[in-house]
Amino acid sequence: MFESIRLAPESASTLSGQVDAIYYVSVLISLVFTVIIFFLVVFLSVKYRRRHADQVGVPIHGNNMLEIGWSVLPFIIMLFLFAWGTKVFFSLCRPPAQSTEYYCVGKQWMWKFQHPDGHREINELHVPTGHPIKITMTSEDVIHSLYFPSFRTKCDVLPGRYTSLWFQPTKPGEYHIFCAEYCGTQHSGMVGRVIVQTPREYELWLAGGKTSTMTPVARGEELFTALACVTCHRQDTAVRGPGLAGLFGKRVQLANGGTVLADETYIRESILSPNTKVVAGFQPLMPTFQGQVAEDDLMSLIAYIKTIQPAAGAVPAGAAALRRAGFTTDGTP
């Protein structure tokens, strides 16, 4: 059990060693100062302990040279840490020009990644070693923070704007992905893993995921899971969102008192601008998918929703499909 105690996570990127170096040096400096202070306090308070009840201290009021010394010396050491830390910081926040760009969308409570070739993953990210990778990120809801402890980097993921981070993995393996900015109920569940592969393994993995050609309904079913439609529009419960079984072609009672025919136009509008026509009895909780679902995928989704029937036949896609699944996003919220 105790062998799990280490001082640092796996060092798996080109910059993680640099961060560790400055950390260990500053730990050493802190240790030296702590030992000096502890020693001074213990030594002096023992040596000059009160020996009889009326004893008073020797009246010493100060020493200007000492004051200057212990103000300037720590400050010089801090300037050194400041300069070094700033240098490492600029390395961390300036991706090399030849970086490959990946995309990430955070939402309560999952990470959605997209590879340059359009390949998509949820809560998992495959990356090759030996090449700088830049991730451009945005959030669909609250502020998250994408954190790779083994690469010693993180950056907040904000709604309505883009931020980015970069790293160049050096060591194949599986490492944690955490959300570091508190984001609500399942904050601690907004985790995943980054799988670092050799470039060859990575190519094979990419090729493996692109083999099938799918019907629009199958593609839509995948999207339905991948986009997490399934978490709210479930068959068995209708707590957060209305069930979709047998919906197509029916009249829907709206919260504002009116009704609407559930045709292709309405379903499309409900995906892109869900708060415009809210179904009676539900809160306008659904996030907008405006700009996140490409037109062809939208059509696939509608095709799938048309096929959902009560009871059997509409079971959400399984875990394997989830992993392969794509969802289209160009990142705009």
């Binding site: 202070i37 000059y48 008073v56 010493i60 000492l66 910081f89 959300c179 508190y182 904050h187 919220p333």
Partner: protein, 539 residues
């Protein structure tokens, strides 16, 4: 420590000058108001401590087994809100400052006794708002209330809690205002600025921060409430607002608030080190001006909370530099306190044990603060347990150690009673051990990558979490003991004598407990800490 029982025809003091609830709830006596504050902040400390205990209990195992995530999130949020706004900020100024500043400047009371009582009522109303929100279902945003989670997503009582914080802020402003006027205008003739105890200097610096900083949190919380309640889109990015603006506003107050919490503790430590070394504080003026320096520079370091928030990298560089700069006056204080022990007459009374503990723990808190101000390190450890450990070393290892030390030092003055030496020394040592066991492992798990505010966590962190929870249990015992022996001491008759420590300082020139108007005859003005000069306190 002779137990010279005073004769039954003893003096009328502030405690026996009137009985019944009216004599307390309508009192204008700064000493009684301090006692009202003591009772209320102790209540909130116990409540915040209970939440901390439940959080630590949940974290014993990697799975979320004791509470669901929503409960857990409410627990750590209420722990933070209560500890920061209802305990750490008011504790030392409103209890010890309130009681002692008039005594230390030789005044009958604070400049505005009615405003002083008002500040306590405002504090209570703010506290009741927050308690009400808690009973209704609590709040789950973290004590930092980050938008847009707090404005648009949280399904908890954000506005009610925020209003509690908003209201309580006014109590803080009024207290700071009262202290500043008192220190300027009510010093006994002959008591120049550089004869003031460093406790008073520290409270002067704190009061400046209270007056200048607190209105900013009031505005911030008000905007938050307007946005959540009325849809004012200040922070909502989908309607053109900026969620990061909230962080700037929040930390513009909440970083200086750290100094509201720790500066008074530093003032206490100066008094304790001087009294139990029987010696003037080494470098008095440097320590005094260090307090003002911290208060001023502390206003321009807030951006170090936002190095990974999407803030401009160049702004981060400036904030990193300033944050290191503010560490210098803190270092000056640490060195001067240590040097004061040199050729002193050091007694290991309980308050001194707390003071020596403070020096050790605050040193670690300060040095890890420098590490966090180092940009290249912060990117990795930001929002991890490293930060949690760091600010607990400052807040618990600093502020609470100072508060406990001060309470033990002035308890005979405030109540006329002594507490058992054995148990109090033991509890000081239990606190020191328990504290380190609780929070030191959190530095390690923080650098390992354990994010804060996690209900569940990967199993490799469990050993460190178990150590932390074990430490918290010990720490809890360390805080429980003083609660018991302080309360029990009140059952005894007044027996402490006027000056059990043979300390100098004007508060020790009057009787214990002091009479309602503090001094029967005009106190003698000397330099601060005039021990070698045959100071009036040494018999």
């Amino acid at each position: 420590m002779t137990q010279t029982a005073l004769s039954p025809e003893q003096h009328v003091d502030y405690l026996n000058d009137g009985y019944g609830w009216k004599s307390w709830l309508f009192t204008l006596d700064h000493k009684r108001i301090a006692m009202l504050y003591l009772v209320s902040v102790s209540f909130f400390f116990a409540l915040g401590g209970l939440f901390a205990g439940l959080v630590r209990l949940e974290l014993l195992t990697p799975q979320g087994d004791l509470f669901g995530p929503d409960i857990y999130n409410r627990l750590f949020t209420m722990h933070g809100v209560i500890m920061v706004f209802f305990f750490l900020i008011p504790a030392i100024p409103a209890v010890l400052g309130n009681f002692l500043i008039p005594l230390m400047v030789g005044a009958k009371d604070l400049a505005f006794p009615r405003i002083n009582l008002l500040s306590w009522y405002i504090y209570v109303v703010g506290g009741l708002f927050t308690l009400g929100a808690m009973i209704a279902g609590g709040v789950d945003t973290g004590w930092t209330f980050y938008t847009p989670f707090s404005t648009n997503y949280s399904n908890s009582y954000v506005v009610a809690t925020g209003l509690g914080v908003f209201i309580t802020g006014f109590s803080s402003i009024l207290t700071g205002f009262n202290f500043i006027v008192t220190i300027h205008r009510m010093r006994v003739p002959g008591l120049g600025w550089f004869k003031l105890p460093l406790f008073v200097w520290a409270h002067y610096a704190t009061s400046l921060v209270m007056i200048l900083g607190t209105p900013v949190i009031a505005v911030t919380v008000l905007l938050l409430a307007l946005e959540r309640g009325f849809g004012l889109a200040i922070f909502d990015p989908t309607r053109g607002g900026d969620p990061v603006l909230f962080q700037h506003l929040f930390w513009f107050y909440s970083h200086p608030a750290v100094y509201i919490m720790v500066l008074p503790a530093m003032g206490v430590i100066s008094e304790l080190i001087a009294a139990f070394s029987r010696k003037s504080i080494f470098g008095y003026k440097f320590v005094a001006f260090a307090s003002l320096g911290i208060a001023v520079v502390g206003f321009v370091v807030w951006g170090h909370h936002m190095f990974v928030s999407g803030q401009s990298a160049y702004a981060s560089v400036v904030f990193s530099f300033l944050s290191m700069f503010v560490a210098v006056p803190s270092a000056i204080k640490i060195f001067n306190w240590s040097a004061t022990l040199y050729k002193g007459s050091v007694a290991y009374e309980t308050p001194m044990l707390y003071a020596l503990g403070f020096i050790g723990l605050f040193t670690i808190g300060g040095l890890t603060g420098v590490m966090l101000a180092t940009l290249g390190i912060d990117v990795h450890v930001h929002d991890t347990y490293f930060v949690v450990a760091h600010f607990h070393y400052v807040m618990v290892g600093g502020t609470i150690m100072g508060y406990m030390g001060g309470l033990h030092y002035w308890w005979p003055k405030m109540t006329g009673r002594l507490y058992p030496q054995f148990w109090s020394r033991l509890s000081a040592m239990i606190v020191f051990v328990g504290f380190n066991l609780t929070f030191f492992p959190q530095f390690i798990m923080g650098y390992m990558g354990m994010p804060r505010r996690y209900h569940e966590y990967p199993p490799e962190f469990q050993v460190l979490h178990v150590m932390s929870t074990a430490g918290a249990t010990i720490l809890g015992v360390g805080y429980l003991l003083p609660t018991i022996y302080f309360i029990m001491s009140l059952r005894k008759p007044v027996h402490a004598g006027n000056n059990p420590w043979n300390a100098v300082g004007m508060e020790w020139q009057t009787t214990s407990p002091p009479p309602t108007h503090n001094f029967v005859s005009t106190p003698v003005v000397t330099e601060a800490y005039a021990y070698a000069e045959g100071g009036q306190g040494v018999h």
